[in-house]
Amino acid sequence: MSSRDTRVELLQGTLDLIILRALETMGPQHAYGLASRLDQVSEHPLLLNQGTLYPALVRLEQKGWIKGEWGRTESNREAKFYAITRSGTRALADQTEKWRRLSGLVDKLLLNEG
């Protein structure tokens, strides 16, 4: 239970945003690659179980924002590589803008109230 204190709880929907952003900047990635990347960026190794990615990937794929294709890793393992689609890129811009506005608002509110 105590380990939970060090985690950053992801807000609903932010994981989608993060995945899209990662795919945009890094190019096609498999689930393990994405998970490693998130661990790396967040500096919290226990940010999430890597399995948590799967519902998000299915959701994004069903929305048509990313597309999965089977390929080979550098270590010659087979893996499903996800790439951001054009509508995914548009959605990312859109969502990022929304997120910025929201976080700006929350920041402002927190500062004022504090």
Partner: protein
């Protein structure tokens, strides 16, 4: 959003592919993770463990992905269903009992509700039928010493009301006549039908199947036209479309309104069209300026022929306003007519046509409706009992599942699935039972009676029988009620279990408060009592029906073909007699025919003809004249007794020699012979017949030549009445000499001209020959209601059969449900007492003792239910008295049979759980603690 939905649906449809894909991806992921951990120096084993941890559990991950991929509850359902099916199959007895209960309950409810809905609730199939009303009058009781007040509304009164009413959108009058003769291409026809104002068709709104209906112009221009029913068109015109434009002559026997009227056929109504005003096979216009109508005005209303009056209320007009207005108008009309009842206040009634149509069956259907509500309640109680029993026997299993980490919602969902499956299976069975029930009720309520028998048997037992069909909405309703009950009672125990503290639930003794058991016992006793009462009622009705079907009628119906001859009225008596003799001779010469005969009223027509009175030797004329019911006079031909298989007990039958020129002879039936000649043989004795048209005419001497067995001629139910039987040739002559009018001579001598043909084979195969014989003897002769006598007999007891079958079905369902109820309660008790039973067995009780223990409980319930039910039956069955035949309402045999039979069934139901109890393993039972 839509796109995602489509993807989810696809994922649901192609689950296998998605699953394989997911497996592959997951395996790849794990491989990569393991590579990473190995690179960090872990052993293969440790790397695999760490990889799984990092992923967060393979199964959990898959589950999460599945939830996102598709509709999680549906996916669960997919896995729950096979599990539930397995569970239900493990307890097959319980499952079958529950499905049977639900199916019978839903089916019976749906069938009866469908019938009630069609007959009582659904609007009649006419436009604005809720505003369609019939106007009648309340006839006050006659004042002493005055003639009874006229009952009818005359045509003139109707015409006057029509011109004054301001509450009706449309009005119509009809007048029905049961016997109208008309020559047709298929010989003379005897039709029911009559006159209607053309507005009647506009009000009913049913278009003709062929040609047109009556229109106001028919009246305005004085056209003489006729519209036929589909049946009349089929039977008398061979469904020939060229019948349109042909003319037919209609002559009524009893009414002057149709005296040889020549009418052009302008239309044929469709099959299934039922005129709410009566049984019409033809319609002709009733004209407001008809000379008859004018004559009606001058006739004192007491003697005037009446019409039935209908109207369609203007929208928004209350029936009360129409009543008020009709009362005012009709009172004014009577005052101005200055008739004998001018000052008698007379209230008018305005009744919805539907009320009139369903009036004969409404009380019965309402009773049945309550019975059905009762049955549905029993069903819900039964299902509740069964599911609670099952639920409490599974509480431990549920507790264990909770303890090892099963989610509560998941377990509830699991039980929900089981209940839903039960409800679904029950619903499917119920749909089948309902459809079969509706079909059965329709068949039972449909009475095949054509021609004269349409009037004698009175048509279908339920109005609108043709419209009755399973109503899917009602099926859904009945299903929903039963499903609601099963879901509620299937899930409630689960909820209880899941809410309870796990440790408590695991150790909880399944024994519950005693009052719950008592409540269940009361429920079961109530069920048994209701079922017993119903079974006794059904037993009485079925017994009556069987006795009716088997009653000694005095004749042998098998092998007899019966039909009525219809001859043109205007042909003379001699010509008619010659036609009959010719037909009898032709039929006698037909291969396979054993005997042929003729009577004025064949079996089941139910006409009683009386003419004067008879004086046997040694009695005074004065004494015999004052007897209330003189013997019936029957007219037959020589071969009739042989054709009908009526035994001659003494003397002889008529022969060809007993013709008009021979001495007058007669045959008595047994009842009359016993009555007139209690101590001696009547053969050779002489009766004096006072049958003249006027008092003072000389009587006729009649010599008795034979005695025959009593015959239930009129109907199967009717006790035979005393009869004097004449040869029709002699009778015609006697009536002529007695000075009665020609018409009356023929009515007694010829009557319905019923012919009976006895064959060695199937009487139906003789029909073409009979048609040919009639056509050859007289081209203008017609045939009415030709059918094997056994078919007629079957139709004549359709009503008691309907009651017996309907009540019998209900009783059977109630009995079965009550037996299931006994089973449910005892099964529950056995589960509750498992430990006690285990202890008993451990302490040395034998299996037989245990069985006795449980069966005794069942026997007490059964005894209590039977006692209550039999008492209830004894109290209620006198209401059935009018429907019974040959059994009393307290028939000990019926009561005994129901008691013994039902007790056996109930005990068999008790035996199943008892056997389970006996199979309890003491060690296992004690470990339950």
């Amino acid at each position: 959003m839509l796109r995602r939905f489509a993807h989810r649906v696809r994922a649901l449809l192609f689950t296998d592919r998605a699953e394989r894909e997911l497996d592959r991806e997951m395996a790849a992921h794990l491989a990569l993770l393991e590579d990473e951990y190995r690179r960090r120096g872990l052993s293969d084993e440790a790397a695999r463990r760490e990889a799984r941890l990092a992923l967060g559990g393979v199964e959990q991950t898959k589950e999460r992905q599945r939830d996102a991929r598709s509709f999680p509850w549906l996916e669960d359902l997919r896995r729950d269903i096979p599990y539930a099916v397995r569970g239900l199959r493990r307890t097959l007895g319980f499952t079958l009992a529950a499905i049977l209960t639900l199916g019978l309950g839903i089916g019976a409810t749906t069938a009866i509700l469908s019938v009630v809905n069609t007959v009582l609730l659904r609007p009649l199939p006419y436009p604005a039928s809720d505003r369609l009303v019939q106007i009648t009058q309340v006839v006050p009781p006659p004042e002493p010493g005055k003639p009874p007040p006229p009952r009818v509304i005359t045509y003139a009164q109707f015409a006057e009301w029509r011109s004054r009413t301001a509450t009706m959108e449309m009005v119509a009058a009809t007048r029905w006549d049961p016997q109208v003769m008309a020559p047709t291409p298929r010989g003379m026809a005897r039709l029911s039908g009559g006159l209607v104002t053309p507005e009647w068709f506009a009000m009913l709104g049913t278009p003709a199947m062929l040609g047109r209906t009556l229109v106001p112009a028919d009246v305005d221009e004085g056209r003489s036209v006729v519209v036929l029913s589909a049946r009349a068109w089929r039977q008398y015109f061979g469904s020939d479309p060229a019948a349109l434009g042909k003319t037919m002559t209609l002559s009524s026997r009893i009414s002057t309104l149709m005296s040889g009227q020549l009418a052009e056929i302008v239309g044929v109504m469709p099959d299934g069209f039922e005129d709410p005003a009566g049984y019409f096979e033809f319609w002709i216009p009733l004209a407001i300026r008809d000379p008859v109508a004018t004559r009606d005005l001058k006739t004192p209303p007491a003697n005037a022929a009446g019409v039935q009056v209908f109207g369609r209320l203007l929208p928004g007009i209350a029936a009360a306003a129409a009543v008020e207005e009709a009362t005012t108008i009709f009172s004014a009309i009577r005052r101005s007519a200055n008739g004998p009842d001018a000052e008698v206040p007379r209230r008018m009634l305005v009744t919805p046509v539907k009320t009139e149509v369903v009036k004969p069956v409404r009380p019965a259907l309402q009773v049945i409706l309550w019975a059905v509500a009762l049955v549905l309640m029993i069903v819900c109680a039964n299902v509740a009992c069964l599911l609670l029993a099952r639920g409490s026997s599974r509480q431990r299993e549920l507790a264990v599942r909770l303890a090892i980490g099963g989610s509560r919602s998941r377990i509830v969902r699991q039980l929900f699935t089981e209940s839903a499956l039960l409800a679904l299976a029950g619903g499917l069975l119920g749909a089948g039972v309902g459809a079969a029930g509706v079909a059965l009720i329709r068949t039972l309520a449909t009475v095949e009676g054509q021609g004269v028998f349409r009037l004698v048997f009175g048509g279908n037992l339920l109005p609108r029988a043709g419209e009755i069909a399973v109503d899917p909405q009602l099926l859904v309703l009945a299903g929903a009620i039963a499903a609601g009950a099963s879901l509620a009672f299937g899930v409630v125990p689960a909820l209880q279990a899941s809410r309870a503290d796990v440790r408590l639930a695991m150790t909880v003794r399944t024994g519950r408060a005693a009052h719950e058991t008592r409540l269940r016992s009361v429920l079961v006793v109530g069920q048994l009592a209701i079922a017993t009462t119903l079974l006794v009622g059904a037993g009485l009705l079925i017994g009556s029906f069987l006795r009716l079907a088997d009653v000694d009628k005095g004749y042998e119906p098998e092998g007899v073909l019966a039909f009525q001859l219809v001859l043109p009225e205007e042909e003379g008596t001699a010509r008619k007699a010659a036609t009959i003799e010719d037909i009898l001779a032709r039929l006698r010469a037909t291969p396979g025919v054993e005997a042929v005969g003729f009577s004025n009223a064949g079996a089941l027509i139910g006409i009683v003809d009386r003419a004067g009175y008879f004086v046997p030797p040694g009695r005074s004329a004065e004494e015999m004249r004052q007897l209330p019911n003189p013997p019936q006079v029957r007219s037959i031909s020589g071969g009739y007794l042989a054709a009908m298989g009526i035994p001659v007990l003494a003397g002889r039958a008529f022969t060809a020699a007993d013709d008009a020129a021979a001495p007058t002879v007669a045959i008595l039936n047994r009842t009359l012979a016993d009555q007139y000649f209690p101590d001696s043989s009547p053969i050779g004795a002489t009766l004096v017949w006072y049958g003249g048209a006027k008092p003072g005419m000389p009587p006729t001497m009649v010599q008795i030549i034979g005695v025959i067995e009593n015959v239930r001629h009129g109907s199967v139910q009717q006790e035979p009445t005393p009869e004097v039987i004449f040869d029709y040739r002699q009778l015609l002559l006697l009536r002529e000499r007695a000075g009665v009018p020609k018409r009356s001579q023929e009515l007694l001598g010829f009557g319905f001209m019923s012919i009976a043909v006895r064959t060695t084979g199937d009487p139906a195969r003789l029909m073409p020959a009979a048609h040919a014989a009639v056509a050859a003897a007289n081209a203008s002769a017609g045939i009415d209601a030709m059918a094997p006598l056994t078919d007629l007999l079957s139709s004549s007891i359709a009503r008691p059969r309907f009651y017996a079958a309907l009540v019998g079905l209900f009783a059977a369902i109630a009995g079965l449900l009550a037996a299931i109820g006994v089973y449910g309660v005892l099964a529950y008790t056995v589960v509750q007492r498992t430990q006690e039973i285990g202890v008993r067995i451990a302490l040395g009780a034998g299996r037989a003792d245990v069985i006795r223990l449980v069966v005794r409980h069942g026997a007490w319930l059964t005894l209590a239910g039977l006692a209550l039910g039999l008492a209830g039956a004894a109290g209620l069955s006198r209401w059935l008295e009018g429907l019974l035949f040959g059994v009393t309402p307290l028939d000990p045999e019926t009561y005994g049979m129901v008691a013994v039979g039902f007790a056996l069934v109930a005990l068999a139901a008790a035996y199943l759980p008892a056997r389970r109890a006996a199979a309890v393993e003491p060690v296992a039972a004690l470990r339950v603690e």
